[in-house]
Symmetry: D2
Subunit: 153 residues, 4 copies
């Protein structure tokens, strides 16, 4: 069976906190034949989602559904350096840069099959209590776990 899931399949790219491979699908592409850019940002979110689930053992289902928290992206920057095309397999790399009281800063790169960056960006995530709508401090164990993923720039 073909697997569109999340099997560990090799060593991390150097200096990167976490990485996944993403196939560029028909539904990701626009009439220009390249990935529609909001879909590239959805790939950013998928990368964070997989890191939370597999790296931190703290899935979006735990965060949002079970605990009533949220981990929204509050800031985003992205440079779209070269188009991503239908059928290409991209490597999405997460570089965790800093952990604050309730926030996480990270860089993201989407690389083409040739190893060159197609998209480079950075994000800030904040842990929220959805009931109050306010930022909340990262629990100690989680903060420690996140810290273990920090790589220097």
């Amino acid at each position: 069976m073909s697997d569109a899931g999340n099997t560990t399949s090799g060593p991390l790219p150097r200096a990167c906190s976490f990485a996944i491979r993403i196939l560029v699908r028909f539904g990701d592409c626009d009439p220009a034949g390249i990935v529609f850019y909001p879909r590239l940002l959805e790939m950013f979110n998928n990368l964070v989602e997989d890191w939370c689930s597999e790296g931190l053992n703290f899935s979006f289902d735990d965060i949002v559904i079970k605990r009533g928290w949220g981990l929204p992206t509050v800031h985003l920057e992205a440079d779209f350096l070269a188009p991503c095309r239908l059928g290409e397999t991209l490597t999405a790399k997460l570089f965790v840069r800093d952990v604050g009281t309730s926030s996480i800063k990270a860089d993201i790169a989407l690389c083409g099959p040739d190893g060159r960056d197609r998209v480079r960006g950075n994000i800030v995530l904040v842990l929220m209590d959805r009931q109050s709508g306010r930022a909340m401090a990262l629990p100690g164990a989680l903060r420690k776990s996140i810290s273990s993923f920090v790589v220097s720039g």
Copy 2:
């Protein structure tokens, strides 16, 4: 590295032409916490896309970009039997039922981790020449290849 790509990872489910595993992601889900149904149909399309690419060696990139053809879904039926939830890994199964001059009929099932069907549907695909906007006969070798995937109902 975590792999959101398409690695062959085991035997086919019985009586099924082709299957992939699909992780239900945050971006697939609606405010009711279950998969937004147009995303379930996008999963149908992803299944067909992977079958074309991996099963038939005739990718959507070949079909649409390189040859200027299309393989649109012209008919669709679906029964949504039970909700699919965030974080679940679904098995999407394709059952090719019939090959016509230019059309392919297939059943599709999306199964939950418990092995029970969540969605059951059927589709009709037609090979089109996009220049003329008309159906075109499936090339002989392709037709033969598709026929090898037909399973009885």
Copy 3:
């Protein structure tokens, strides 16, 4: 100011329960330059959403967020008769056909600027109690309101 919202702007097409106009956007279209079909089903859902909100005064926000209910599509059929292209304004028409204890049956048509059907389909919606995961009877006033939209086939 340009309005991508929902202003009443004219009489209903004949024999139709409710209708909206939908602009085919860049993000709706695939590398073949036509609407990616899961997006056509999202248009089906948008039509139902607007009918609930404007026709029934019973918005998805009321149903899902405030009351904890759901109104999922449990059955869907669609025939994709002709492609919908970037920049076209479609007319999406809802024809409510039947109201049961907890279900609503309706036909849907998406028409092109030339007035010809591009997509014809039908759906079954069911009112659910999300806590129990079971169908629930449509409240009397709502059932009466829905009945007033029924048109014969």
Copy 4:
């Protein structure tokens, strides 16, 4: 008939180059009940698309399909200040800031029904020749037209 299209319906917000209203739909929202952020970026793109079509009379269909050009977003920044909720009507405002040889710089704001900014961002667009994959100079008349939309910061 309800209109999800693009009818001019009032004066521009002050100091803004172009604006549209956008209804937050069920399919835009995630299990946390707020807009999934890649959908907010799709709203950015829809705003640019409507400005090109209605403001510049130079639609994405003209640019991408008829001429074989592209107008990709090459840089993006966004601050997500407050969540956008199901059923809200947002005002998306475009502030064109600068026109270069082949590029356009603009700020974007998505405002809630209370008039306060929910998202603030900026983008850089570049006119591309898709055949060569290179930036191309904005045609003189188009450059002049764009310049008429520039507002100071």
